[in-house]
Symmetry: C2
Subunit: 199 residues, 2 copies
């Protein structure tokens, strides 16, 4: 789930701990989760955990980097498999919505934890790398005349802001239905906002 480690058979403490941490961090929050909590949930000993991770903070960091990397890979795949900006944007929202329903914990941790509160020097670049892919994607759409010329930050925010907002509402359980039910709608309207129809 977390890593695509090679040695899947031998009990991998690192991975076990990361899975427990992901669960506990998203359910109780980082600060409400103690290392003893992780010990209990993962059934790994304190000693083992501290053998594999320098400290509690490092667990969160490893988790974060791992998930961001996975997201980056998925986004790059979408860029390879689809050619128009419109298709790519659609696929990205689809991916985000699927993740929200299938792995809400992952989504919650990636999008809505305040990482800066517990990860000391989060590389601002890394933190926003998936964001940058999306921004560049929209910018490319402007060059190919698919998207209206406008401020790039505005374009990417308008294109994905609605979907991200829906995800948040869903994770907060304000939205009761699966967020996928809204996929076609939210894409259609968000795209309508930025598309260039003065062809």
């Amino acid at each position: 789930m977390i890593s695509n480690a090679i040695n899947t058979r031998k009990k991998n403490i690192r991975e076990t701990v990361l899975n427990s941490a992901l669960h506990l961090f998203t359910v109780k929050g980082y600060f409400n989760t103690s290392v003893p909590d992780i010990v209990k949930h993962s059934a790994c000993s304190t000693g083992s955990i501290y053998h594999h991770f320098a400290d509690k903070k490092s667990i969160a960091e490893a988790l974060y980097n791992c998930l961001v990397e996975r997201m980056e890979t998925s986004l790059n795949e979408i860029n390879q498999n689809y050619d128009t900006t419109k298709q790519r944007c659609y696929q990205i929202i689809k991916l985000l919505f699927e993740l929200t329903e299938n792995e809400p914990e992952v989504m919650r941790f990636m999008l809505f934890s305040k990482h800066r509160e517990f990860i000391a020097d989060i590389a601002p670049i890394c933190s926003t790398k998936p964001f940058m892919i999306m921004r560049d994607l929209v910018a490319a759409g402007m060059e190919s005349n698919e998207v209206q010329i406008m401020d790039k930050m505005v374009a990417v925010s308008v294109m994905f802001g609605g979907a991200l907002r829906l995800i948040q509402l869903r994770l907060d359980n304000v939205l009761k239905e699966p967020v996928q039910d809204k996929l076609e709608d939210v894409f259609t309207y968000s795209w309508k906002a930025i598309e260039n129809n003065t062809e």
Copy 2:
């Protein structure tokens, strides 16, 4: 700043503490702020603080309720002073953008702290009351034919998602310019997404 207390002259510990707490919570985060930190910053003693607040959590609660209430008032004022959905949406985004630049701490605390992590029983209704005002506003726009008929959650998310996303980028310092510079653009494009032009 925080409260409109009557007795502004006599040193008001409650208010002083709330101001310090807002500052510290947004800069360092709730969990990285200790009561001794608040003691130092506010220059109020531990004893005084615990005389006015049951515990640390209660400080955050008081702060949160106070800010949400203020926001609610502002939104209601906008509803009174403007009649079309379009104008109201514009004014709401304008308000949010002004708050972002003038009182970024307030904005950060309201929009992006994970309150559920530290406020025990946050009334889900209260937590989303400003959200509900916005939703109802957009819904009213559908009845008056200003806004296309669509799922209300989708509509409110698309209408305000872009602006909220820009605010987040600004608070995270990814966006370097004042977010107001984007006001006209983000409103224009977001509104374009949901407006009804089959009049």
